[in-house]
Assembly symmetry: C2
Homo-oligomer: 434 residues x 2
């Protein structure tokens, strides 16, 4: 009777508790600092992951080391952190061999460097394929470089599931295509693109790919080397838990290292920074993608966040992520669909990333009302309540409780805020970078 989408007793809260008891990752939440007591359910870990206690410890340790070792810290590991933390991330999260990944700068800056470097590898070609539904920064970086270099942007529209399929890409590739730049998981719909097939199609057309991994790194398997991805970049403060605005990563496949040429020439991308020579001579390999001085507080946070993910293991995280997604869809179908809510993410878990988007015309106001009740999803313009599912910290019971609040708001069982559009515009939490 209460079976929904194959879940038994989904509408019974004890079923949620039972699933949590059976969850092999259930104890991982103890690695994290507690949320505020006002938080009923945090469903925005795909925008800003919760802090592991180890991150706070790393900052305390940095203050001690900085005070004690002073300038010597640079020679005792700090200077190498962009590459060492990059390699740790590559091994446990990105499916990449060492020497191809660095952690530095913001996602935006990394996308700028990578796209420009990719274009420099295809000098005769003038077209860049971009996803119209991609995150703004990705589109704006492409627009800026298109303006500067006189390129043509080829805009793909999302399919009905909110994503870009291989056939969509195949339809626009030609021998003037220099680069295809897409998100692995779409920030709004949660659509998981077929990285391998699309990369292969681009290569067959002689083009390169630049993948944005902001919404996939740390929550599902990424296999950059096996897929022969050319360039990738992404942030570390979502499923990797490195904190607000922590430095981003970038990856360049080693087959391109001999001819790497990015535009922001800085001393730390040089072959011998302390020679301080007259002309920029790029460092060999991935280090040439660096520019300025490494941000150590951020890098140490990335290291700890990656370690927590690595210890749990991406396969176990993905298994729970899929289960949480199915659980969310089942509850939405049972409780929310009759109240006018539509699942706006792919229903096939194999095509869905780590979040489930729910569409409702009142989404903005609903997010504010949910926040007032201690339930923290994210609003995404114009009409999406985005339910982020962070497998290391999100329980089945939290999802159950959160969607019960949403149900009660929509059904009138819980009083709703007055429809003051100004207040509603102000209130919902606005999460950065996807």
């Amino acid at each position: 009777m209460s079976d929904v989408n194959g879940f038994r007793d989904v509408l019974d809260r004890s079923a949620a508790l039972a699933r949590d008891r059976a969850d092999p990752l259930r104890d991982r939440v103890d690695l994290f600092l507690p949320t505020g007591p006002d938080v009923v359910a945090y469903l925005d870990g795909n925008s800003l992951g919760r802090p592991a206690a180890a991150v706070a410890d790393a900052w305390a340790g940095l203050a001690r080391d900085w005070a004690g070792r002073l300038i010597r810290g640079w020679d005792e590991g700090w200077m190498e952190l962009p590459g060492t933390v990059g390699d740790e991330l590559a091994a446990s999260v990105l499916g990449a061999a060492p020497g191809q990944t660095v952690v530095a700068d913001s996602t935006t800056v990394n996308l700028y460097k990578c796209l420009r470097a990719a274009l420099n590898l295809r000098p005769g070609r003038r077209r860049v394929v971009v996803d119209r539904d991609n995150f703004p920064t990705n589109r704006y970086v492409a627009q800026s470089l298109a303006r500067d270099l006189g390129l043509e942007l080829v805009w793909l529209a999302a399919d009905p599931d909110g994503g870009v399929r291989p056939e969509d890409v195949a339809g626009v590739l030609d021998d003037d295509t220099a680069v295809v730049t897409l998100s692995h998981v779409a920030y709004r719909s949660g659509f998981l693109a077929d990285m391998e097939a699309i990369t292969d199609l681009a290569h067959r057309a002689g083009a390169l790919v630049l993948w944005d991994l902001c919404h996939s790194a740390g929550v599902l398997p990424v296999e950059l080397d096996r897929c022969e991805v050319d360039f990738a970049a992404g942030c570390t403060y979502k499923f990797l838990g490195a904190g607000p605005g922590a430095p981003a990563f970038l990856y360049v496949h080693r087959r391109h290292h001999d001819r790497l040429d990015q535009p922001i020439w800085g001393w730390l991308g040089g072959a011998d920074p302390f020679q301080m020579g007259p002309d920029h001579r790029p460092a060999p390999g991935i280090r040439s993608m660096l520019s300025g001085t490494p941000p150590i507080a951020g890098l140490l946070a990335v290291r700890e966040g990656v370690r927590v993910v690595a210890d749990a293991g991406v396969p176990a995280i993905r298994a729970k992520s899929v289960a949480l997604g199915e659980w969310t869809v089942a509850l939405a179908d049972a409780w929310l669909a009759p109240l006018g809510v539509e699942v706006a993410s792919p229903r096939d878990p194999a095509r869905r990333g780590g979040h489930v988007s729910l569409r409702h015309p009142d989404a903005r106001r609903l997010c504010a009302e949910l926040a007032a009740a201690g339930v923290l999803p994210d609003f995404r313009t114009p009409d999406v309540v985005r339910v982020g599912l962070a497998p290391l910290t999100t329980s089945f019971t939290a999802v159950w409780d959160a969607l019960a609040v949403l149900r009660d708001l929509l059904s009138g069982a819980r009083p709703r805020a007055a429809a003051d559009p100004t207040a509603a515009d102000e209130a919902p939490p606005m999460a950065p970078n996807g």
Copy 2:
């Protein structure tokens, strides 16, 4: 008899202790975390400033706020930090009215954005004036943009004091000069450029200026507004004490805000980031210089570092900085000149920044030997021992003790390390970004 350069009893250690007792900033050092017990004298605070305890407290507070407030932190101040911390820095350190300064990205990235934005304001002009002795990143950024945009770089050589004088600049300006980009204080010699005169000369030629403030911000008065500087950028981990690789700042005078156009279009430089619209529409004012998500751990460290400087006040800091510089020169003249050491910074304190460079052919090895003895200056290729004087943490006695060790090494009173060039190449502390 022991008077040197007007200092009485400079060679008597009790004179150093007396100067420290009379120092109005003497207690400020208590705001900082203690150095390691092996440190006799830290003379590299102009490369990596020591941590104030408040910075460590800010990181602990951030971990708590992040855990408790979660995504809501972005709406509760984090998102505005690039501008609010920028304004705090502007008011207390840069001599700039609000709304013209942001803290974000690295110095290198900021120089890239600023130089490109400056060039966009002078589209018909093809020449950029650069200092041949400027810090590598500054030169490399100019080289990269020159290559991309087909510009000509006009290289200035340092004068005998290691700096660029107004007459040097006047000699190369013409009606094809787009931008003059220089360091306010030269990283090697410590030469303090005449910002007002050079800016005025550039303006008379119809050119713009971009000043690098890495070695002046926080240690001497900077008056960006009064000097009508167009663009400026600099780091925060030297005299501002924000920690290794902390985010840098940039300033653009408000008269240029209407036509600001920097190349790294990112969502946080847009007019309405959360609208996530199809095209990049730059934010009004200085915010259009931003690109990616603000690095909060770094920004909070900058805020605390700036507060410590602001509380002491730049005039008092400069007064002690000059006194420490004169003290260093006096000791060098008395003890070190007879042993082959030359003062490689301007002797006129009005033309000198916050450090004193000492030249000796064995500088590299001497730095390693000093470090082994707990004295930490910086080596700068090819032959400079750079004595950094951080007025909030450096005492007259520390300078006395440090130069006494250097004297004893040179005189043979203290045994020197075997001249193993490999070991010496490895050993000296290598401090980043100037």
